[in-house]
């Protein structure tokens, strides 16, 4: 076992504990946005997809890598936009802003 794998395992174990600790208390109304937000975060696989397409030497690797970049971009872009759209509805509105919005919808 090399030092590298030990270092990666260390990072893995510590991240697992951080992941559990940071969401210990979440009100149930935020469960869905939190799931959606973490969905966007694992879109970081885009970095991996870029690296494999960027290192591709055969056409099979190029095709698979290209597909991976498309799928990963869908994940990351879609994930953040959906989460933002959900959270947009949670923002606290001042009474005047609320009134303006209601009037706007009435048209």
């Amino acid at each position: 076992m090399s030092n590298a794998i030990l270092q990666y395992t260390t990072v893995f174990v510590l991240s697992a504990f951080v992941g559990i600790e940071i969401i210990a208390k979440v009100p149930s109304i935020l469960h869905t946005p939190l799931m959606s937000g973490s969905n966007a975060i694992h879109g970081v696989i885009l970095v991996g997809a870029m690296i494999i397409l960027g290192s591709a030497t055969t056409s099979a690797e190029e095709v698979l890598g290209f597909l991976a970049v498309i799928l990963a971009t869908l994940n990351v872009v879609g994930g953040f936009v959906v989460t933002d759209r959900m959270l947009e509805l949670f923002k606290s509105k001042s009474p005047s802003a609320r009134k303006a919005k209601t009037e706007g919808e009435g048209q």
């Binding site: 893995f12 940071i22 799931m35 970081v44 960027g54 698979l64 970049v69 994940n75």
Partner: protein, 465 residues
């Protein structure tokens, strides 16, 4: 500082933003900021990756192809996410999660092909195989979850004889294949593993009923995180390991919190084929029980002369997009001096928080939304419980009938109110497929039809009374 070190430093910053973002997403005040911080960190990481040097010391190849792939992904994702109706949110999360799992599996496969000639160490191959297995299960499982939520297929659990055994055989086959590939390092078998994982994802999800799909999506989300972490090990990339593990670990906890909100254990959600026993509505009628259905005018008068009305919204409200009409109805009632509150069950709609989002969209003030415990104490003094498109969340058999599949789930005690009004599309039982005794209660009045239509009629009736 070398280019590689600088890149690692930027990845470290990005990983930090993800931690801050997840923390922020757990609090109502900072949630939106948290999401924006994560998006910023992601942009930074992706931008920096263009300066990545491959293991043989070259700059990143195929940059135009990478940009093209990103462009295609973005022009599909943005309109889908922006313009899809808010009721489709659960499906969207499922599909974006699935493609992430697919991407992680592809990254692992491609890296395996790339390094295969160099006879990689056993643990590297193991990381690849785990990435392929978990990523593919998440991909095909999310696709089925999407189909269930989008109603492209039945939302009811699909069961067949020997299902658990067949599932177990496929799971064992996947493990056996991993062992064989580790020993023989056969590329051929990798494709077999891919196929087995794909089928495993499908058969794992089939027996899970529509009402439980949100919990399932959360679990698959966590899987995708782990698949990303596995790809991170293979590529030797700390950012992928940190982000993937964060999502994997927090996702499992979140999944447990979601099942707890439904009063069930995760194992019960995954393996009990909940709601597969459908009571035929025809048979129920034969035992002589009748329901009372009313006219919008009667109910309009009932509502107008109440002093407290508690609205209990459910998925029917969401499908009918009736959140604006219900606010108008509430406004009208309030103008007549009626106190109007909303009782929100933790799993109303199809995802925790679904109803809050939907009602917030209609500008219904936050303080009027009552969580279950508070709502139940309000209901004891309410004149009318107005149930709009909900069923299982007000079904008393969860409390009274130990034989009921939803026994033990906390419910909103609509029956405690003086009168109960159900706005329902039909006599069909709810998502869980359980008959609701409350419908047959003498103090219950039913009004059949699409929630938006019936609410509009009620609104007119309230206005004229």
């Amino acid at each position: 500082m070398s280019r590689g070190t600088l890149l690692d430093l930027i990845y470290l910053i990005a990983a930090t933003t993800f931690i801050i973002a997840l923390k922020g997403l757990g609090s109502p005040k900072r949630a939106r900021l948290g999401n924006i911080i994560a998006a910023g960190g992601m942009t930074l990481a992706v931008g920096a990756t263009f300066f990545h040097q491959t293991s043989d010391g070259h700059n990143l190849r195929h940059i135009p192809l990478i940009l093209l792939g990103m462009f295609i992904g973005a022009i599909v994702a943005v309109p889908a996410a922006r313009f899809m109706q808010i009721t489709s949110m659960p499906q969207l999360v499922a599909i974006f999660n699935g493609v992430g799992g697919g991407a992680a599996a592809l990254v692992s496969i491609t890296e395996f092909m790339h390094i295969h000639a160099e006879k990689p160490a056993t643990y590297v191959t193991l990381e690849v195989l785990l990435g392929v297995l978990i990523g593919t299960v998440s991909f095909s499982g999310s696709a089925i979850a999407y189909a269930k939520l989008q109603e492209l297929m039945t939302g009811r659990p699909i069961t067949y004889p020997g299902q658990q055994i067949i599932n177990a055989i496929f799971a064992l086959a996947a493990v056996a294949l991993i062992v064989i590939i580790l020993v023989t390092s056969s590329t051929m078998l990798l494709w077999v593993l891919l196929a087995v994982s794909f089928v495993l994802g499908i058969i794992f999800v089939l027996p899970i009923g529509g009402a439980d799909v949100p919990v399932l999506i959360s679990l698959l989300n966590s899987f995708t995180g782990l698949a990303v972490a596995a790809s991170g090990f293979t590529l030797g990339n700390n950012l992928l390991i940190v982000a993937g593990t964060l999502v994997g670990a927090s996702g499992i906890l979140l999944t447990r919190m979601m099942s707890a909100a439904m009063g069930r254990s995760l194992a019960n959600v995954l393996f009990s084929a909940f709601g597969s026993v459908v009571t035929a509505t025809g048979a129920e009628r034969e035992d002589g029980r009748t329901v009372r259905s009313g006219t919008p005018e009667d109910i309009g008068v009932l509502l107008s002369y109440s002093s407290k009305v508690v609205i209990i919204p459910g998925y029917g409200l969401a499908v009918a997009q009736a959140q604006h009409v219900i606010r108008e109805l509430a406004d009208e009632l309030e103008a007549k001096g009626v106190e109007v509150l909303y009782a929100i069950h933790p799993v109303a709609g199809r995802m925790p928080g679904h109803m809050n989002v939907l009602l917030a969209e209609a500008n219904i003030p936050y303080e009027k939304l009552k969580e279950m415990d508070e709502a139940n104490s309000e209901l004891t003094t309410a004149d009318v419980a107005l149930v709009v498109g909900a069923n299982d969340t007000v079904n008393p058999s969860a409390k009274t009938d130990p034989g009921s599949p939803i026994y033990g789930m906390p419910i909103i005690n609509a029956g405690d109110a003086e009168n109960v009004v159900f706005l329902k599309r039909s006599m069909r039982p709810g998502f869980a497929g359980v008959e609701n005794d409350l419908l047959f209660d003498p103090k219950t009045v039913l009004l059949f039809g699409d929630a938006k239509d019936t609410l509009t009629k009620l609104l007119a009736a309230v206005k004229s009374s």
